[in-house]
Symmetry: C2
DNA sequence: TTAATATTTGGTACGCGTTCTATATTATTA
DNA sequence: TAATAATATAGAACGCGTACCAAATATTAA
């Protein structure tokens, strides 16, 4: 189809640039003042555009908050790596990683809320938790740990998925139901790990 | 201390009555029009009081939404019971219950969001997920199932907690990250169960 | 340049949760 | 009855997410 007259559609690069400008500023606000301070109106004002312009580039606020996930997950990964430095045994590395994972989310409840509980209840539709490969890598590191412990394991993927969702579940429960006397996180993590250690 | 003059404090019964009146009406709205339709302003208008009066009885909107949890959990329990009717073997009952639990939350994503993801991200404080005993019972039924399968099990509580949080985690992951190719829920549930079957 | 089209902007609007203040209402004791 | 204290109310205000719309602006093909 031949190009007609008129202003051309924004290039992918332009769109990307604007989105990341907004995203970076959102990150800055959140780091200094917390999530509550991140608002579309404020973002627009401080970045120098109209609020509606943001809606031309993002689906909504949740779409902006996704930009913060990467930062949080990176922080989490660093935290885990730090704790793993002195651990050599493969089995113990897996255990320590799982434990560090849970601990991170328990120690940073606001981060947990941002990443795992940021879907608006008022929305009926299931808004997708879209992740790029870099982001996913922060979760899939567990695949590597599992493979180290069980090189013969036939279904590493299922073990990984079960472990990850289980660990997230532990964090969710301890975060959102702090008054219920849960068994301690370490014990639950260990028991969960026992399910994938054949 | 002697009573002084002045209007006496509301009795517990009065407080309870008002709270349940609001709660019941919220339930009605939500059943007909969904969660998005439940708002404090509307609640006040339809129940015949000022919006501020509600704030005298509830901490905030989340505090009201808690009234809907009981309803959702009851619904979930009924669903599980129905599916368990024809299952006699204890081990299979546990498995079927766990599966039905996960399935329920996957089939009713809006209910899942209400119960497990209704904490406002903007709030820094961890608002407690307070449950009464009736509500808790809907979760603790798993203790019974586990005990039936493993009468000798020394730490039923830990197994129960690990199972519940793990199942919730599976539901959370599949609900909030539907685009990620998770292993199927049944497989993950089974693997999770293997961790408590010693 | 002109016409066509994409995008941005500003303004207005709705309903929301929440907070504040000032005023009224109520039920009790003195 | 009068004073008093608990409670309820109305009203305004703030900032929010989101939607709609008309006007302005930018960028291209003809």
């Amino acid at each position: 189809m031949a190009r007609t007259a008129g202003r051309p559609t924004r290039s992918k690069a332009e769109i990307q640039e604007f989105r990341s400008k907004i995203g970076k500023h959102a990150l800055e606000i959140y780091r200094v003042e917390g999530f509550g301070a991140v608002s579309i109106r404020r973002l627009a004002k401080e970045v120098g555009c109209a609020p509606m312009t943001i809606y031309a580039h993002f689906e909504g606020k949740t779409d902006i908050l996704r930009f913060l996930w990467a930062d949080v997950l990176r922080d989490m990964s660093h935290d885990i790596e730090k704790k793993l430095k002195s651990v050599v045994d493969a089995r113990e590395r897996l255990r320590a990683a799982a434990q560090a994972f849970v601990d991170y989310w328990i120690d940073h409840p606001d981060h947990f809320r941002l990443v795992f509980m940021s879907n608006d209840v008022t929305r009926a539709d299931v808004s997708a938790f879209i992740m790029d490969e870099d982001t996913l890598a922060h979760f899939l590191m567990f695949s590597g740990f599992i493979r180290e412990v069980h090189p013969e394991e036939h279904d590493v993927k299922m073990s990984t998925d079960t472990l990850i969702s289980g660990l997230i579940g532990i964090a969710l429960c301890m975060n959102t139901m702090p008054d219920y006397p849960w068994a301690d996180a370490a014990s639950m993590t260990n028991q969960l790990l026992s399910s994938i250690s054949t």
